[in-house]
Assembly symmetry: C2
Homo-oligomer: 212 residues x 2
DNA sequence: CCGTAGTTTCAGACTTTTCTGAAATATCGG
DNA sequence: CCGATATTTCAGAAAAGTCTGAAACTACGG
């Protein structure tokens, strides 16, 4: 790896972090490099800077494209692909959150929706399903919330953050000003029988996993 | 694995997701199982339910304890450890976000703080450091914000979510009601020379990675 | 169409992580 | 202190994930 120490530390750190964020080390490093680079880079620049194989860089760039995290450009009389990270760091955060939602929240929501349509066969299953219902409610709310918030422009978002916990004071004001009218729900993707969770309090015993 | 189909799907799904959330498959499965279980479980219940080794369960439970995600209890005349997931799913979300912050944001912040204290040796490094400064500002704001928001109780948090993007309308009200007085900053952990980033516009060339 | 400059794919080598069984450790009642 | 029960540790086996070099592919100018 052939980089100024300042940049090298940064790049190595994001390599490590990459692991936790669901991408591999090289992808993290490539992104870190693009992030601090004053101009767009071609794949071979990255190969030289990071000292990894050409093919590894190619795969890494492909993955970053799948995450919508890089911008691809071309220069006149040069058919190489030039890659760069968006200037606006808030845009990057939005993209990250959005992609993560797509990969983590959305599949979980559909799994839960399906599970909630099953008919429980035991008290154990009934309880499990009830827990799933609560989790579904939470994740659904978070999902909607994010769809909303994503549309707020950067400036407002910064303002919102600066507000911090004093947001509660604003909420009190909101109560008084009656902003809390019921919000419209996005059209449900599956049949809408969530609430069919039954009053049937079947007391069948023997759902204790300890029991032989 | 020996579970009702409804629960099995759920458990397997969280096993997969576990990977993305920085824990391994077994840890995800154990947590899913505890989450839907009507009563606390001992390690051997989990071994039987998931069909994994006793030692694997022991390590998984240890990790969940490190994440503060499980509650450990005892029963009279029984010295086995009984594990359960907290009832309140918001509490679980808070814990998850908090632990993630601790593992991802905080180390990155200290890396950035150190990098920002270095003196850039080239125009390339100067630019890189400027980008790092922007990133540091963002992450620092997010970190403070989370420290604030974590203290908001569940009910308010739900209210905040239900508000969704209409939060901007509330913010407009906030503007008028003058809630935006400057907030106090937590004491800085390092010396406070962030802004010393120099007007010295040294134009040294040769920091173009394309150059041979 | 051919040669060149560039990018992508992929099988297998290599690295890292996870999981297991066996042994070590801890704790309690007697 | 012993024996019974419960938990933890750990070295190595197994599995999963990453990275590479070689080959395949693509697009373009001549």
């Amino acid at each position: 790896m052939n980089l100024p120490p300042l940049v090298q530390t940064f790049v190595l750190h994001f390599g490590e972090m990459g692991g936790r964020w669901g991408v591999n080390r090289t992808v993290g490093q490539i992104y870190a490099l693009l992030f601090v680079s004053p101009q767009p880079l071609v794949a071979d620049d990255i190969v030289e800077a990071l000292g990894v194989s050409r093919s590894n860089v190619s795969m890494g760039l492909k993955e970053l494209q799948a995450w919508n995290l890089v911008r691809l450009q071309h220069k006149p009389n040069d058919r190489r692909d030039y890659y760069s990270a968006p200037e606006d760091i808030w845009q990057i955060v939005r993209t990250l959150v959005e992609e993560r939602k797509k990969r983590e929240i959305d599949p979980t929501l559909s799994m839960l929706r399906e599970a909630l349509m099953e008919r429980p066969e035991s008290e154990y299953e009934r309880h499990a399903q009830e827990r799933m219902r609560v989790m579904h409610e939470l994740m659904d709310a978070m999902s909607d919330w994010y769809d909303d918030v994503r549309r707020i422009e950067t400036e407002r978002l910064v303002q919102l953050m600066k507000l911090g916990s004093r947001i509660t004071r604003v909420l009190e004001a909101a109560d008084r000003l009656n902003f809390m009218s019921p919000r419209k729900k996005k059209p449900a993707s599956a049949t809408d029988d969530d609430h069919a969770s039954s009053d049937r309090q079947e007391q069948r015993p023997g759902d204790d996993p300890d029991e032989p």
